[in-house]
Symmetry: C2
Subunit: 320 residues, 2 copies
């Protein structure tokens, strides 16, 4: 939850004068998004999102993120998309920060997604992968296997505070993944953060994908591995094979996974589990316990990692 | 900035079923209000505020707050007002908290209000005081002179960390105010927190007063004293007599201050300055410096207090 930069009414009026959206009618800081300052902006034309990009987002990456959203929206993918100003620019400055106005996507995220929701997500992810296939900008995935060692090293000295033996476990896992990470899978643009709070629904239909600020080029199947971890485990930590089957089957109706992708999926799922474990562990150890940002439990992802370690083939995910 | 309680999509749907507002279309936590959890709620009927009352608000006070908003709105005062459910109740339960749906007030607050805005505020405050004159519920002001000593005692041992000699200064001031606090001024319902972020404007007209969660029964002129402190000092700490004159003149066009109120105003302004100084001081000393709640500088109100100490009569505020 965060609004790091305050915007005065005068700054906002001047900023909005550059757009064709009429005068501002309201502007409320949103307690969502740990990375940026977000506002729900009402103008004479309608409701929008106003995002000020804070220091954890590299300004050089913004054309990729905003361009991707626009590219996908133009191809019919339901997603948030930037609004261009009168001169055609999607990215501007406000209160000393890079800033953009983004379309407001109506919809609610599901705290406990059902198999129906998982199927909708699988279909949307595949369509997104296909729609992005002719997107020309590139952004490497800084949080793929090459990025995990520095993250682990930053947390290793204190990882035992979270669980005894955790450092050794993670070192072994990382060494294995570094040695065995698949290099030749079909590549493309992935969202890389398709958690349930980034997928909005109206009733059981997806109304929009949001928060593209981790999107990058990587193995397409890695995006699915992230979704498997984020959507198919229950609160009691059990893996729900019905949800996984629904998600993967719906995905494959749009884009069939190659043999290599299917074989790699358990490994990709281990990698994805390690990636979120490592960032959560870092935040856990480096965020004061009394700060108002809610820290996410890193051990949730240790359990997911261990589940995938026991997986021999994709049958464990409900498909053949 | 705060969302202390998370609401699941399922809980929200069940809650909304009790209202005549249609299905939820969106629900975003708002980074406003330190006391409660606030959400901007979109439904098939429109946009609303959803407030979950957290532990700093006494449930027993909620009928007063909600009843007052409804009372004022019914008398044409532009303000947020609760929406009643199908059974006529304004106050319900959500996620284990008392909760209410409040009308959404379009408008922006002014970071640097002009004399025009101060005049609009003066008029609105007077009209609010008059419209509340037949409101029958009562709530004593827990943050009036009787409440200041416990606050000071909670901070006194560490007040010197903020400024050397501060404890002595505040002890002397409090003793003086306790001995001289006026007891017989015209009483009524006051908002008690009419800072500029609680007064929304569309262009230069007030579109709504919000955040009635400090409202109480007290001397009406004490509300004006709060407004003088909140609206009539410049960023360089100078007092802007033009703004004060505009505010008080507009107030008196609706409701003339009695001779006693005019005489008491400098003292009430000192008291109001001390009250905000004491709560800010408490928060300053009891909030971790790295917490994401922005602490407000208590010394801003020490300067205001000292200004009013030098005031001999109401001429210093621009009126006779």
């Amino acid at each position: 939850m965060a609004v790091y930069t305050e915007v005065s009414d005068q700054e906002l009026e001047e900023f909005l004068a550059g757009y064709d959206l009429g005068a501002p009618l309201s502007c409320k800081g949103i307690a969502e998004g740990v990375e940026n300052s977000n506002f729900m902006l009402g103008t004479e034309r309608g409701t929008y999102f106003l995002t000020l990009y804070e220091k954890r987002v590299a300004p050089a990456d913004l054309p990729f993120f905003l361009g991707l959203m626009e590219h996908l929206a133009a191809r019919g993918i339901p997603c948030a998309t930037p609004i261009r100003d009168k001169s055609g620019k999607a990215l501007n400055q406000l209160a000393g920060r890079p800033a953009a106005i983004i379309s407001f996507v109506a919809g609610m995220w599901h705290k406990r997604p059902t198999a129906t929701h998982c199927a909708a997500l699988g279909q949307a992810a595949a369509r997104m992968h296909q729609a992005a296939s002719d997107f020309t900008l590139r952004r490497p995935n800084a949080l793929s296997v090459q990025g995990w060692r520095p993250l682990l090293e930053a947390s290793a000295p204190r990882a035992h505070e979270v669980q005894a033996g955790l450092t050794d476990d993670l070192q072994t896992e990382l060494a294995f993944l570094e040695a065995n990470w698949p290099g030749k899978l079909p590549q493309g643009v992935i969202h890389a953060d398709l958690f349930n709070d980034n997928v909005l629904f109206l009733q059981d239909r997806i109304s929009g994908l949001i928060d593209f600020y981790f999107a990058c080029n990587d193995a397409l199947a890695y995006d699915i591995a992230i979704c498997l971890n984020a959507w198919c485990f229950e609160a009691d930590r059990s893996f729900n094979i019905t949800k996984a089957r629904a998600m993967l089957t719906a995905y494959q109706r749009e884009r069939t996974l190659t043999m290599e992708e299917r074989e790699a999926l358990p490994l990709l799922a281990r990698g994805s589990a390690l990636r979120f474990l490592l960032t959560r562990l870092y935040d856990w150890l480096h965020t004061p316990a009394d700060a108002l940002v809610r820290r996410k439990d890193p051990l949730e992802y240790l359990h997911k990692l261990r589940f995938h370690r026991g997986v021999r083939d994709i049958g464990a995910y409900g498909i053949e």
